[in-house]
């Protein structure tokens, strides 16, 4: 059955050409299916626009759904409402200047984004990072992963109907904010990593807070499990909902926990280890079902793995410098800047020109962000600005999955499925 002539039924007030093409595209989806009839005597069919301002769509995601009663017949996603053109901005900034923009890409785990950019620039420019900085970065990244997963857990359970849970996960997130504040001076957009290392060393206060968090958080996780693992409503809302089949997962490019919930143990931390992930011991949790519940288990286990990684990092944390000691490659320490002329000049040069990778060099480096494979492709023209910087955003890939899994689901499950896929529009829209 096909709902024809959607155009005449909707009245757009702006971007007319855009709306026209979007509805046309919805109309054309699955047109290979034989049309059974064109009558709809009970008028059970309707077009539902969800978003972009819908609170449960996790940002400015717009879904155009064609419903038959309560079932989604077909759907189209419209993204781009948060498009800021960061790739274009990057071409006009030095690498270090661009870093604060990466905080605002996946704003739920800024630390991973900083590290992703820094490792990519270090790879193309051949910068050696001191051992201690690697471990500090790993601690930061894993804290960011827990923080991101906590937000996912709170909102996803809220989408499934339990409001109070959201407050509990935010209590723990608040502790991570406090830790970030003590690590780098910012609670949210931390920008703590630097090309060639990190901005400043962990203070004793920060270390003791991380230790305390690592000791108390497993108890909280246990409580979450107690509350959800045998919860009938939670199971009914999530089991066999939003199923991504194992055979389709690779084809449509799912990434991160969504892919791992389909049975593929693809984790960049193991696939091409960066930082010092090859020196710590951790597992990649996987599930076979590919539904929302599987994604829940995968992310919950990932949080305990993160705690394991942080514990090992704290044990192994070596002493030494936290930034490359080469004024052509990384910012000099503030001691040098304040008390020596060379340091001052180098600091100025780093800010003005920055690091210049060799002309014509190109490289791609990916890290495992909480959402999946976050990669930076950089092509250099020999100046301090990248010629081309491409961000492979995991949320973008996972939103494409959403468009594929939504067909045939119930409209009430839409928000649960979005919650389970956990996209961040700041990242998907670039």
């Amino acid at each position: 059955m096909k709902l024809t002539d959607i155009q005449s039924k909707v009245h757009s007030t702006f971007f007319n050409e855009h709306q026209k093409k979007l509805y046309q595209s919805l109309e054309d989806k699955h047109t290979s299916i034989e049309e059974m009839d064109d009558g709809d005597p009970l008028t059970t069919k309707m077009i539902l626009n969800m978003g972009p301002q819908h609170p449960a769509t996790h940002g400015v995601l717009r879904l155009v759904l064609q419903l038959d009663g309560e079932t989604i017949e077909k759907n189209k996603l419209d993204i781009g409402y948060l498009h800021r053109g960061v790739e274009k901005i990057a071409e006009n900034k030095t690498y270090q200047e661009f870093m604060p923009y990466t905080d605002r890409m996946d704003y739920l785990s800024p630390y991973s984004n900083n590290v992703a950019l820094c490792t990519a620039v270090e790879k193309i420019a051949g910068v050696e990072v001191p051992e201690r900085a690697h471990y500090i970065r790993m601690i930061g990244c894993e804290l960011a992963r827990i923080s991101s997963h906590l937000l996912w857990l709170g909102t996803m359970v809220m989408d499934a109907g339990a409001i109070s849970f959201f407050i509990w996960t935010f209590k723990e997130r608040e502790k991570i904010y406090d830790i970030m504040d003590r690590i780098g001076g910012h609670r949210f957009t931390i920008s703590h990593a630097r090309i060639g290392g990190v901005a400043n060393d962990l203070t004793d206060e920060a270390t003791s807070h991380i230790k305390e968090f690592v000791n108390t958080f497993p108890n909280e996780l246990r409580d979450y499990h107690k509350l959800l693992d045998r919860n009938r409503i939670f199971f009914d809302r999530n089991e066999a909902v939003g199923v991504l089949k194992t055979e389709d997962a690779l084809k449509i490019g799912a990434t991160g926990p969504v892919l791992r919930a389909c049975g593929y143990a693809l984790d960049i931390r193991k696939f091409t280890p960066y930082a010092r992930y090859n020196e710590v011991d951790f597992d990649i949790p996987t599930r076979m079902e590919g539904d929302n519940l599987a994604r829940y288990y995968v992310r919950m286990e990932e949080m305990s793995e993160s705690i394991r990684i942080i514990q090992q990092c704290l044990e192994k944390l070596p002493n030494g410098p936290i930034r490359a000691d080469n004024a052509k490659q990384a910012y000099p320490s503030k001691d040098e800047v304040y008390y020596s002329m060379e340091g001052m000049i180098h600091d100025f040069m780093m800010t003005d020109t920055g690091i210049c990778p060799p002309e014509g060099a190109e490289s791609y480096h990916a890290v495992e962000s909480p959402k999946g494979e976050l990669g930076y492709y950089i092509q250099s023209d020999g100046t301090g600005h990248p010629w081309r910087l491409k961000i492979k955003a995991p949320s973008f890939s996972n939103l494409q999955v959403l468009e594929n899994v939504l067909d045939g689901e119930m409209v009430a499950d839409t928000v649960v499925i979005i919650g389970g896929l956990d996209p961040v529009l700041g990242e998907a829209d670039k």
Binding site: F14, L22, I252, G253, E362, Y364, Y377, S397, Q400
Partner: protein, 170 residues
Amino acid sequence: MTLQLSEPLKKTVDSLTEIFSDKVIEVYQSSGDTFIRVEADSIIEIGMYLRDKLHFVYLSDVFGIDRYTSDERFEVVYNLLSLKTKTRIFIKIRCEEENPEVESVTSVWPAAGWNEREVFDMFGIQFRNHPDLRRIFMPEDFQYYPLRKEFPLLGIPGSIELPSTTPDND
């Protein structure tokens, strides 16, 4: 420059250069990544071979590069992963400035759908046989391609209609 390839990568590059000897233009490495540039019209054929024979089943990303003043101005890069051999390669094709058009690889890797839309949106490269080639970030009413080098950083005033801020649209 001699290539320093791991065992599975070497096998991939060797079999590609052997079977598609007239299609592979160059193979090079930069910062440890392997790039293979091929003829634009053979991308489907090579993609099929890579997917079916060499296990590159996972397409991670597709993106465009504007080479601006060079001949064959636009470049499209495919970022491929093989889970079996744990390798990553990049396949590149180039196209002309006038009416840039390349074949869509959605028939080989359906994941390319949105990525190709992004390339189309940002560079104006047309993808033949793409199931749903629309702009993805910018609205359809926008007529420029923002990631092309000649597009100004500050944008073009008046190029985009902004939604009315009053309830009655006046």
